[in-house]
């Protein structure tokens, strides 16, 4: 409410200052210095008044007395701003009322005294505004009649009065009495206390008078003053809201105490004071009704009750009542039985002879017991009720806070939207006024022009008239005639000109429709939700992708209301025709989505927009996600291994490159459980890995490809035994005449007709020597293999660098080391060739299974007759590079290569 008021004021200012300023400015420019238009503020007024607080709620400062609040600061000089102030203070008072309510709750059964005082307070409102009279009656406390009235505890009196009176009836007079009090509340508190004591004394006085001098006084007063007049005044004083309960007590009151009051009013107090308080009260009461209805009701009820009570009290006071109470006390002394019918204790004697003769009686003590029990029960019920009410009260308190919070939220919302609306309105108003002013200016200018031309015309007319008149009086005939002719011509000409007497402009202004549509739209939009902002798409989370699916996540701004999201994606393409790539769109309710059926290892672009009933957001930034690669394929035929290592090659199935590969090893145990990964090698950039292994074991090895999106499935595993050295033949190096049989390890040559034939030759193959290279693992240590040959097969076997000349013979150069077997007419001849040189060595038993031991660590290459473990020859050479096994046939025949053989122990010595 406060904010609205502020807006309201703002609007008024706008309309008053800015608008009038612009208007007057336009007037000044249009028609010179003119006084400000008296109607200028009017456009602002109705707008401001429409949603504003009803005038009844706020005091009208100009009409009222100085504001009677505790601070006493607000005055009529504040003008319209006083309106907002008054509202604020009311809120403040309500808040102050809450602790008072709490205090009252802790005393769940208000004493009759308290209620009485409350009633007296409201009853004596007009009196309370006259401290002078109240003080005079303080002495009347000692009057004997007051004992009949119920006791009045001062403490509860104060409490109750604080709650009700606050600043309602505070007056400047009272502040004059306690000017030194620092705070408004403190002064009010004391003031109220004082006032209440005065009131109670009044009451006593009233009852006293009512009891003894009622009739006489009434008669006198009726005589002295008009009864009707007094009654009217009384009604006025009590205010409209008291009339609701007035029916109950008013007749008696006006007749008894009410008349008393008027006595004092007339006799002892000055009427101006009373009038002042009366008028204040009248202004206040409507506010009270509309603002604090609950409080008011409760008070009204209390008042009603207490008035009733009070009337009874009044009626019971008197000599007869006094005597009867005395009789009761006498009976209690002597009673020994209890009459159940009459519900009174009686003497046993009465039971036998008195009026209770036929009544049912009980022993007094037992009757007391049962009655006490009854009371106890009721007490329990009361306690329960207390607890209930207390709970409810605390709940109410929570609601209080919630209401405040909700109010704050709503208030802010309204402020924002109404501010917008007001701005729009102001702008509209300005535009309209400007247009209006412009029109006015044009009109005035047109009119002025016309006026000027009229004046000119008039001048011309007058001049003509004068000239004609002079001519008319000319005596000289000749001259007359001379001039008359020209004059008549001139007159004719002039008169021929039509006089334009039409208004060039109308005083009415154009009809200007006041267009509220925009404001209406604004007002309507107050409760509708705004369209959401663009969502924020998350970058790809690692390992959230598979080869064919992606999980995309995004977020929204928390204030947005979103019904669904539109997720779009398309594959990223380097080509310029990427627009041709189909875009896909999905509607998603959640802030994530898993898209499947995608291509492996492919980049996709994603963007998302949110939508609700009000519209759709702009799309988010584009995020690029990539699917995981396909599992690689291990080239099982190209696996090489030795006792301590294996070299595994694979190929990727995807077109796009992947980030890295991971090799997973599982050592096979006797339990044949190959599923447990015993070792992983990560971050392999190439499609090849040299893996260190333990000798004489079996391993399952598989490969996974990785990219940003995640890792592929595992490749098919390959089995590797680290028993001896395993290699395969490199077919690319084979001479065209050399054939590799199906087992992959037997080379054969059928004919040697023309070794340097025109057969197709590959880049890497041997051209002269019918040979082939094996692919040995590039790993230090010992490597042993055997070659099986027929006794009459001529061959060269040994090792060679990978780049050994393909056009030469093995052993003929310094990049190969060979054992050569040739058959001479007399014998088998064995040569151990390197750089074409051989030692002269005779071997008596032609070996058919040649063992070859390559030992990088001791720089040796040894040949053995593996059948009989006979050492044949050893090359000692520091191999600068890793070498490969080489095999060549010089006569038709076959050589069978055996790999995966443990190095025989007898090779250790030679």
């Amino acid at each position: 409410m406060y904010h609205w008021t502020r807006i309201h004021c703002k609007l008024e200012f706008l309309s008053k200052e800015r608008l009038s300023e612009t208007i007057t400015a336009s007037h000044r420019s249009a028609a010179g210095a003119q006084p400000g238009l008296p109607t200028s503020p009017t456009p602002g007024r109705p707008t401001a008044a429409q949603p504003g607080p009803s005038p009844a709620r706020g005091p009208i400062p100009a009409a009222g007395p100085p504001w009677p609040g505790p601070g006493g600061r607000a005055g009529p000089s504040r003008g319209t701003r006083g309106g907002s102030r008054s509202i604020r203070r009311r809120g403040g008072r309500r808040r102050r009322g809450r602790p008072a309510a709490r205090g009252r709750r802790t005393a769940p059964a208000p004493s009759p005294g308290l209620r009485l005082i409350i009633s007296k307070a409201s009853q004596r409102i007009p009196m309370s505004s006259r401290p002078v009279s109240a003080r005079e009656y303080e002495s009347s406390d000692q009057f004997p009649g007051h004992s009949a009235s119920p006791p009045v505890p001062n403490s509860s009196e104060t409490e109750g009065l604080i709650f009700y009176h606050m600043d309602l009836y505070g007056s400047n007079e009272r502040f004059d009495i306690f000017p030194e009090e620092p705070s408004g509340q403190g002064s009010r508190f004391l003031g109220n206390t004082r006032r209440e004591s005065a009131l109670s004394s009044e009451k006593c006085q009233n009852s006293h008078e009512a009891g003894y001098d009622m009739e006489k006084e009434v008669a006198e007063l009726a005589k002295m003053y008009g009864l009707d007049e007094d009654r009217e005044k009384e009604l006025e004083l009590l205010g409209g809201h008291l009339e609701t309960v007035g029916s109950k007590w008013l007749p008696a009151h006006t007749q008894k105490s009410g008349l008393q009051d008027s006595v004092y009013n007339r006799s002892k107090s000055s009427s101006p004071v009373k009038d002042q308080s009366k008028s204040t009260k009248h202004q206040e009461l409507p506010d009270e009704v509309s603002q604090d209805e609950d409080q008011h009701k409760a008070r009204t009820e209390n008042e009603a009750d207490s008035h009733t009570w009070f009337r009874e009290g009044l009626s019971s006071s008197g000599v007869s009542d006094e005597r009867s109470s005395q009789a009761v006390s006498e009976e209690e002394e002597m009673a020994d039985v209890f009459c159940c019918t009459c519900k009174i204790p009686i003497r046993a004697f009465d039971k036998l002879f008195g009026e209770h003769k036929d009544h049912e009686v009980a022993q007094l003590s037992s009757a007391v017991e049962s009655e006490k029990e009854e009371i106890h029960k009721n007490m329990c019920k009361l306690e329960e009720q207390i607890a209930q009410v207390e709970n409810f009260a605390s709940h109410l308190e929570e609601i209080f806070i919630t209401v405040e919070e909700n109010f704050g939220r709503q208030e802010q919302n309204f402020e924002v939207h109404y501010n917008d609306a007001v701005q729009v309105l102001a702008q509209k108003y300005e535009e309209q006024l400007e247009a209006l002013g412009e029109e006015k200016k044009q009109k005035l200018e047109a009119l002025y022009e016309q006026l000027v031309s009229c004046g000119e015309h008039l001048d011309t007319c007058k001049e003509l008239m004068d000239t004609t008149h002079k001519l008319y009086q000319e005596n000289d005939k000749v001259t007359f005639m001379k001039e008359a002719v020209t004059m008549v011509d001139r007159l004719e000409k002039f008169l021929k000109k039509e006089v334009n007497l039409k208004l060039s402009t109308h005083p009415d202004f154009e009809e200007r429709a006041i267009d509220f549509s925009e404001v209406e739209q604004l007002m309507n939009s107050i409760n509708t939700i705004p369209a959401p902002c663009a969502p924020v798409i998350n970058p790809q989370a690692p390992n959230a992708a598979t080869g064919t699916s992606l999980r995309v996540c995004w977020g929204l701004f928390s204030d947005d209301t979103v019904e669904c999201y539109q997720l779009c994606y398309k594959p990223v393409s380097n080509e310029r025709h990427s627009d041709e790539q189909a875009e896909h769109m999905l509607k998603v309710k959640e802030t994530y989505c898993t898209i499947s059926n995608l291509l492996p290892n492919t980049q996709y672009e994603f963007w998302v927009s949110a939508s609700n009933a009000s519209g759709i957001s702009p799309p988010s930034e584009r995020a690029v996600y990539v699917t995981a690669p396909s599992p690689p394929i291990i080239k099982s035929k190209k696996i090489r291994s030795c006792e301590n290592a294996a070299l595994v090659c694979w190929e990727s199935r995807d077109v796009n490159p992947v980030d890295s590969y991971t090799v997973e090893l599982s050592k096979l145990t006797d339990e044949e459980n190959g599923d447990i990964i015993t070792e992983s090698i990560v971050g392999i950039p190439n499609c090849e890995a040299l893996i260190h292994l333990q000798p004489a074991q079996s391993y399952h090895i598989c490969v996974k490809a990785l990219n940003l999106g995640g890792s592929s499935e595992r490749s098919e595993p390959v089995l590797i035994h680290t028993t001896g050295t395993y290699f395969c033949l490199n077919e690319d190096t084979a001479h065209p005449l050399l054939a590799i049989l199906d087992d992959g390890f037997t080379i054969a040559c059928d004919e040697l007709e023309n070794p340097e034939c025109d057969l197709p030759v590959y880049d890497n193959s041997f051209t002269r020597c019918i040979g082939i290279l094996g692919s040995l693992i590039p790993f230090p240590g010992k490597h042993y293999w055997e070659v099986e040959a027929e006794e009459d097969t001529e061959y060269r076997i040994g090792v060679a660098f990978e780049n050994t000349p393909r056009h030469g013979y093995l052993g003929a150069n310094n990049s190969s080391w060979c054992m050569r077997h040739i058959i001479t007419p007399s014998r088998h001849k064995y040569e151990f060739l390197h750089s074409g040189m051989t030692p002269d060595i005779r071997i008596t038993v032609p070996p058919t299974k040649i063992g070859i031991l390559l030992d990088y660590e001791s720089y040796r290459l040894s040949f053995y007759n593996a059948d009989i473990a006979q050492h044949l020859y050893t090359f000692n050479s520091h191999f600068q590079h890793y070498v490969h096994p080489c095999f060549a046939l010089e006569t038709p025949g076959t050589l069978k290569v055996h790999t995966g053989i443990t190095v025989p122990p007898w090779t250790a010595l030679l």
């Binding site: 005779r842 071997i843 009989i868």
Partner: protein, 269 residues
């Protein structure tokens, strides 16, 4: 059979010693050199017998060949006996360098006046191994024999005539069989002939021949005959004709390591 230590020298953590004893076969005092590798202090070791060539004594090999390092490495006891009985006062024993003293040829003589003393074959085959086995930490199951020149031939004879006795086979330097000289009488000691009658091929013979050996070019060494015989009998032989080497101990020293390793392969297998 008391042994009298003549000398003892520490060598490659082992000891090179020379002993003297009275030989029952040869009826004279005989000396032999023995190298005890460091391993012999704690374990029984195989024994490798070296048969020297003409004119040699036990000293030549132990001072010139430089075998001790390889023997120490492989843990072999190497015994180098003398090449013939000495001081037997047989007439004409010192007249020729290649007959009599220093030229026992490792045969048992059957003719007077030699047949009493010149029983080198029996001495090397029986008496000496017994003596060695009784006095040194040897493994009697594992013994081998090799030699140079005449001793090489002797080694071949010993091996071929006693299949199985020598666990392993025969190194032989500069095949020292005078195979053409005493054909009728010495047929039984002709290594080539023996090869032909050798019952199985359970031998591994390594022969190094200096190509510039003066005796080879003089036709006194006929390795081709032996190789042919071995080829025929499928006795595995690697015969290495070493370019530029002669018959000397320099040649021996060059290849002694190969031969000791060769024997060690079998003796330590």
């Amino acid at each position: 059979m008391a042994l009298k230590q003549v000398s003892s020298n520490k060598c490659f953590e082992g000891f090179q010693k020379v002993f003297e004893h009275d030989s029952t076969e040869l009826k004279c005092k005989m000396r032999f050199g023995i190298y005890l590798p460091p391993k012999a202090e704690t374990a029984k070791c195989p024994v490798l017998y070296w048969l020297s060539g003409l004119t040699c004594t036990e000293q030549n090999f132990i001072t010139k060949a430089g075998f001790q390092q390889a023997a120490a490495e492989h843990g072999l006891i190497v015994v180098a006996p003398d090449t013939s009985p000495r001081g037997c006062n047989i007439e004409g024993e010192d007249e020729s360098w290649d007959f009599g003293t220093g030229a026992g040829f490792y045969v048992d003589a059957t003719e007077d006046p030699w047949k009493t003393n010149y029983r080198m074959y029996s001495y090397v085959r029986d008496e000496l191994p017994k003596l060695i086995n009784a006095n040194f930490p040897t493994n009697p199951e594992r013994m081998s024999v090799f030699g140079h020149s005449m001793g090489g031939h002797g080694a071949l004879i010993l091996a071929l005539k006693n299949p199985g006795k020598y666990k392993c086979q025969w190194g032989k330097k500069a095949l020292g069989g005078y195979l053409g000289s005493d054909v009728s009488k010495w047929e039984a000691y002709d290594a080539t002939q023996l090869v032909k009658s050798y019952p199985d091929s359970h031998l591994d013979i390594l022969i190094d021949q200096g190509k510039d050996d003066q005796f080879l070019s003089a036709g006194q060494l006929l390795p081709d005959n032996f190789i042919a015989a071995c080829t025929e009998r499928k006795i595995p032989v690697v015969f290495r004709l070493q370019q530029g080497y002669d018959h000397s101990y320099f040649f021996i020293a060059t290849f002694i390591n190969d031969h000791i390793k060769h024997h060690a392969k079998f003796l330590n297998a």
